[in-house]
Amino acid sequence: MSNEEVYSYKTPSSQLVQIAEIASRYKGRPEMLMKVVIQTQKIVTAFSASVAAVIAREMDIPQTQVYSFITFYAMLSVKPRGKYIIRMCKSAPCHVKGAKEIVRALEDLLHIKMGETTEDKRFTLEYCPCLGICEQSPAIMINDRTYVNLTPESVREVVRCYIRDEVE
């Protein structure tokens, strides 16, 4: 993705209005930035420049501060992502239990590589550090749901449910 694409994508103004409403509740309370971005993330999958500017304006903090914060945390993104973010645990307990086969199955099924988003903007594949479900590794997380004890077959089945929109 070029810089241009990363930074110039637009967020619909209806969403900006919702975000402004959330952020305005915490005007002058910079310590609530985490709460604001987590709630914002329920509305948008990524923080465009206009989203950061709205949060900054409403909370009365510099936009740069919002940007710097977002780029620090792995689960927040300034780059556009899919509706479903599939996070593959990259840590040793999953690694020793066949994580790479799961990765292969995911990449083959969605025709994208780790770190990429499908063309229809529905799925993003990401690595993440330990999900804390190591006694049932390998594990993945799709948005905030976890799936454990995976095999290539079972992970394909899980993702197919999302493809077919069978998950609420």
Binding site: N3, V6, Y7, A49, S50, A52, A53, A56, R57, P62, Q63, T64, Q65, V66, Y67, S68, T71, F72, V78
Partner: protein
Amino acid sequence: MIHLTIDGEPIEVKEGTTILEAAKLLNVHIPTLCHHEDQAVKAVCRICVVEVEGQRLLPAACSTPVTEGMVVKTASPKVIKARKNIMELILARHPQDCLVCSKNGSCELQKVAKDLNMNRPNRYEMQVRDARFDNSSPSIVRDMSKCILCNRCVEACSQKQGVMVMAKENRGFDTVVVPPYGKLLADTSCVNCGQCIQVCPVGALSVHDDTERIYEQIDAGKYMTVQIAPSVRITLAESLGYKPGTVTTGKIVHALRKIGFHKVFDSDFTADLTIMEEGTEFLHRMQNHGTLPLITSCCPAWVKYCETYGYDQLDHLSTAKSPQQMFGAVIKTFFAEKEKIDPKDICSVSVMPCTAKKFECRRKEFHDSGFQDVDISITVVELAKMIRTAGIHFEDLEDQEFDAPFGLGSGAGQIFGSTGGVMEAALRTVYEVLTGETLEKLEFMQVRGLEGIREASLTIKGQEIRVAIVHGLKNVEGILEQIKAGTSPYHFIEVMACEGGCIGGGGNAPKTMAKVRERQRAIYEEDQKLPIRKSHENIYVQKLYEEYLGEPLSEKSHKLLHTTYHSRRDLLR
């Protein structure tokens, strides 16, 4: 008191002293990179690690307070090995093109690396941090490949200036310091103050170099005029290795002539002119219920700040141009006419302690002569480089005088270079104009000093005038809020963006507040030496009004010496 030994020498220091500070008292030098004496302790570069008896790890000297009975070794083999290993990591990300770097010779990393004797091949593959190069700003060049992530610039910009143009992006190995969302510096709310350059230990942030353009203009046969700002004579010598506060006015004039300028003028002259216009504007507003408080407008970084963050309060800004721009307008009109030179053949240069002046002279408003009024603005640091490039032995230069008619400035114009100086200069004139009496004591000590916000109240002819002096833009936030809320108690406010005023400006050699104190002492001493110390007594200023402008706030003055402002709130989107 705490007792400890450092490298075998006992010392007694106050509780709360750091190992670094204690070592300094013993003249033990511990290398540092992120540490800056006027900033918060960061403890991130880790180059200052030392060995403390009984401790498993090597603590950072800058952040570790001394404890009773502590035994510190600042240069044991273990310490030196660790420092070299850390330096090796830094150098593996830092381009080694020192010979062509703007900070060559003044780079803190270069010095520490040299002291550490890094005479072995680097064991890691060279991976430059970030290749993005940004010279979009007329004032500041960012070369993030050289950044060592000391975080000093972020602190200067956010904590001192309240702007926060740049901050860390990403984390770990990918961390860089950038404006958000890939923006170029020119497209941000950066006020061009250059305080980030002042604290940058390496060549990551440097002054936008305009010296080549001057040579081009000389080569093109232009009629070269130059003005030097009040603080340049105070700070230039420091860039050439002199002690802070060494005043070298006559040598600078001489050096500028040697470089190729036909006329060397003194911005102190237009500082006086500024006082005439701004002081008159103030009296006018006082007497006619105009918008108050009036805020000074000679600092271009402050003006851009106000246009961005105080975009709805712009009518408080004095419409008087800064001394640089008044000079620019007068040279290409009055002077050109008088000397019968076509203004298009004039190249008007300014030497400023300031990076924002480069931005100011490019503002579209400043074409009142029909041309860009000031063509090129260079900083003190650039002039020092030109002096070296020209092979001038500064030390041996005979003093020379400024050229007439703009070579005379009053003490009032001289102190413009310090925080509080514009206010004091204005008060000297306002007092005498209002009362018709001669001031017995010219020094307004209440407005002097280095506190971030200073206030004073004077009664002149039964009328109370409340003034405030602010420096460091972070301090102006509250002042602007008061104005917005309509609760500002002041009539007249002086704002300068940089801590210390222009003598602490971003175009000088790197400052510390200790150096600024020396510079400030020198500037007030200069004032005392001058025969004329009030702007309205400057005979050449009087003559300019007689011959050309008429009187302050006349139509001609308005055209040439006043300006307008516009909102830049879009920069915050």
